[in-house]
């Protein structure tokens, strides 16, 4: 159990480190702050336009289209700034996973309350002996789960990055409109 707790704590520290790296490399730069402010402002104006009841349909639609283009451009520029952090963060995470896997190699840190599907066993059993039980869990799996959970929590709590926009492509969010071409 102490191994499990140790891996979870390492996972939390690793997530905090990667967020700090992203902040240092990207989020605190003037360029990113300007783009973030533009995204927030444009989203607010877009929502106002979409909720407005006055104004003619064609002109309002043209303004909405213009704002959506501006928003997409700002997000694209911010994403290209984030690329440098993504590379560094990716390398740090890979190094952390490798280090944890090596440190806890051969040790069962937890028991899974289910039998993992074959495609996940390479992750749940990474570094464990071949004859270890199916429900044995490696440090790598716990570390990856922790990383997913803590990264999302830290990201959402600190809100250093861009506001979460529409995360689904329009044809998924509104398939009927995509097929009929109506908005």
């Amino acid at each position: 159990m102490s191994d499990f707790v140790a891996v979870v704590v390492l996972s939390l520290l690793s997530s905090a480190l990667t967020e700090a790296l992203s902040y240092g490399l990207v989020y605190r730069t003037e360029a990113f702050q300007r783009l973030k402010a533009k995204v927030i402002q444009t989203e607010a104006r877009l929502e106002e336009e979409k909720n407005a009841v006055s104004g003619s349909g064609k002109h309002r639609q043209r303004r909405i289209d213009g704002l959506e283009t501006q928003l997409a451009d700002a997000r694209r520029s911010a994403s290209s700034l984030q690329m440098r952090a993504t590379l560094v963060v990716g390398l740090v995470q890979m190094a952390a996973i490798y280090a944890v896997g090596t440190r806890f190699s051969g040790r069962v840190v937890a028991t899974l309350p289910f039998e993992p599907a074959r495609m996940f066993r390479s992750l749940t059993h990474r570094g464990l002996p071949e004859d270890s039980p199916v429900s044995a869990c490696s440090a790598t799996f716990v570390f990856v789960l922790g990383g997913l959970a803590f990264k999302a929590i830290i990201d959402r709590y600190l809100q250093l990055g861009l506001p979460k926009g529409s995360s689904l492509p329009s044809w998924v969010a509104d398939p009927e409109a995509a097929i009929t071409g109506k908005k």
Partner: protein, 115 residues
């Protein structure tokens, strides 16, 4: 619907307990994220403490993590999810991290108490 200027400005968490207010998409997604996080940790902890195992627990989780929040925003907050792009648009960035939190708490408590 225009807000009266005399209405006090509520914090996000105060809004979460008041019915039939106007919501922005980012506000709703924030509240749903934290709701799913708490829900996932709770369900995982309960299943782990009780020593329940197997695929049925996963199925119960994945069904309830979609149904419970959508009942909250539909029946309690009075929100039409189509105004925000549908159920998956609201849940999308919360389910992955929620599932990770569920697995972590379920595995942790099960390991601690039943092995």
């Amino acid at each position: 619907m225009a807000k009266s200027e005399s209405e006090p400005k509520l914090t996000l968490w105060q809004k979460a307990f008041v019915r039939d207010l106007e919501w922005r998409k980012d506000e709703l997604r924030s509240v749903v994220f934290w709701l799913i996080a708490a829900f996932s940790l709770s369900i995982g902890s309960v299943l782990g403490v009780m020593g329940l195992r197997g695929l049925p627990c996963l199925i119960v989780y994945f069904v309830s993590v979609v149904v419970a929040p959508s009942m909250y925003w539909t029946n309690y907050l009075g929100i039409d999810e189509q105004d925000f792009g549908g159920k998956m648009e609201i849940l999308n960035d919360s389910i992955g991290s929620g599932a990770a939190m569920f697995m972590l708490s379920w595995v942790g408590f099960y390991t601690m108490l039943h092995t």
